[in-house]
Symmetry: C2
Subunit: 362 residues, 2 copies
């Protein structure tokens, strides 16, 4: 089937740039000993996770127990939940999953350590637990330094838990537009990690690994000599918002857009605007409107639930029935709106990959 025959709206993955992105990340890290553990919250798809692992990733990350279940079901054998898991039911599912695969999870709270230990005991497993420290994103994460060390001690003292290291993700740095802003933010994160690791050492607690980083900054963490694993996720797709970052002098390769929303012009009521059938139920607008992929003067200026308004700015074409590619503003929540990737190569459908962790909220 050719692209023209794919009905809309659909989520299109162009395999050539996608595979180049996979390789580019590895190539950019060729001289370094740091490991890659890509974030699967972006793609929610075991088919993609297994390709990342085949190219050398040590495993993947995700944010939710239900995502981890979908990934393990799809063949992944090493999953880090880069997030706190709260509530007895979720902890039981997590402990049960640890019988099938290597599963690690983060904590920032002592009560959660106790609950994790109890769930692990119930299922007779030993869980890898990382202390999440707040390195500037001001979201989850205990304060670095002494509070983090105290929490690590509680893990070490838990019969069914193993202290697996530090989760230190500076999420708010990833979309800072300027390279120097991102560098300053990551320098701050690195200092927090170094200080915490030193204190762990003084307390006699080995820190098996430090994990973090995203597509916007991962070479900075890779050069830090303190991060052991990188969690970049969006590099495989490269959404419109990440493309607004300044990449010059970052050293980070030019990842290409590989993920698109395929849409049809459904109305041409005036010469000035075209209406397409992909609105905010087809492309998340939390990080801005989608961009039109062809590079012409037309702009996607407004999204309602089921409609997108394109201001033509003199662009030719855009007849009713014409189809076009949109670059989503933000890949992660856009992927979560679809059940499948339509995988294209040279204008033909090559595969359909189910997004088995779509809607995996808990």
């Amino acid at each position: 089937m050719s692209l023209a025959d794919v009905d809309t709206p659909a989520l299109i993955l162009e395999l050539d740039p996608f595979e180049r992105n996979l390789r580019r990340l590895n190539e950019s890290l060729a001289e370094r000993s740091v490991k890659v553990r890509p974030h699967a919250k972006s793609h929610k798809c075991p088919q993609i996770a297994m390709r990342q692992i085949a190219l050398g990733a040590v495993g993947v990350c995700c944010q939710k127990v239900s995502e981890a279940e979908a990934l393990v079901e799809g063949g992944v054998r090493d999953v880090l939940i880069t997030n706190e898991v709260i509530g007895a039911r979720k902890l039981q599912r997590l402990a049960a999953l640890a019988k099938q695969a290597r599963v690690a999870v983060c904590v920032d709270n002592v009560e959660n350590v106790k609950a994790l230990d109890a769930a692990a005991a119930q299922f007779n497993v030993t869980l890898d637990v990382l202390v999440e420290i707040n390195v500037g994103a001001n979201r989850c994460g205990i304060e670095p330094g002494e509070p983090a060390v105290d929490l690590a001690k509680r893990i070490v003292d838990s019969a069914h838990l193993r202290f697996a290291g530090l989760q230190a993700y500076q999420g708010s740095a990833q979309h800072m537009r300027k390279v120097e802003e991102r560098r300053a933010a990551i320098d701050g994160a690195i200092n927090h990690v170094k200080r915490t690791r030193e204190l762990l050492g003084k307390a006699g607690i080995p820190c098996p690994k430090v994990t973090g980083a995203g597509t916007g900054t991962y070479l900075l963490e890779a050069s830090s000599a303190v991060y052991d694993e990188l969690q970049a996720g969006s590099y495989i797709f490269m959404d419109a918002d990440y493309a607004r970052n300044d990449w010059t002098e970052s050293g980070i390769p030019r990842f290409e857009h590989s993920l698109f929303v395929w849409t049809t012009v459904m109305s041409r009521a005036t010469d000035e605007r075209a209406i397409v059938d992909a609105g905010l139920k087809a492309s998340s607008i939390d990080s801005g409107m989608p961009r039109i992929a062809d590079g012409g003067p037309a702009e996607y200026i407004k999204a309602s639930d089921e409609h997108g308004v394109i201001q033509l700015n003199g662009a030719a074409g855009y007849a009713v029935g014409d189809k076009l590619k949109l670059i989503p503003g933000h890949c992660d929540p856009t992927v979560n709106l679809y059940d499948d990737y339509i995988c294209m190569r040279n204008g033909r459908v090559e595969a359909i990959w189910p997004i088995t962790a779509r809607g995996a909220l808990w």
Copy 2:
């Protein structure tokens, strides 16, 4: 099962306020002959559509052929697609569906009329077709007046189509905050409809109905003496954005919030903020952040993919593991993130209603 035992994030429908909202719409229209055809794009759920119909709705609206299929599969016998349907495959599915239920669709383009006629001929059905006119929303819709009448003639001349009237929805009026702004916008829409209907009459084309209106304005259309059917949808749920409208002197009843995102506090790293497990994959933020339902000083100020940041502003409680209700900023795209409504009454789960048109994009 009690609400406390429902795992998070989950989409909660409180049946008591939901049912009051259903009745309130009807009561507010008791003295009028106008019919109700609620919009199912908000709920995507046959269980809700059938309840609306049981209370007197003539059928429901939706935006997509795949939504119409899910509604008909769930028992609905009269569906209006308030939208243009473009492309041979979708038109064939539409024509096939018309063998099972009464299905109507909108057009704003003559080529689409031809394609609809061809699909209807292929399936040996007669399709009801409305001309969508632009009454100020500047989205889809042919210009009112002569252009609309010319298009209606093309429908009348089509062997397998029946001209079913005018679709005249002023979408941009619905969320105008002030009553007088909404009134001015709807007065404009009414004038466009009147003029078009007069011209249809002069051309000898009966106009079986005029359909439109939303939760923000429906009493204005109901009082117009030109609208025959009202398409309000959000009134059943009442999201945070609609609640920001000024309703005083609108005559529209105070619809209650009935739809909530149920979420757990997962981190309390500082005294100032709590982190909950419902981010923008659990509650669409296109129309603003969700509101916390309890009315206290705490505010949901920021959403990332899987996290919500709550600024506590001195609020008590919010311990790790506590659960709370969020009022979504915008109900329609939030519903589209879930597979089920967890229906509650008096604190107990009474039913689970599948959202069978979730992700129905085409």
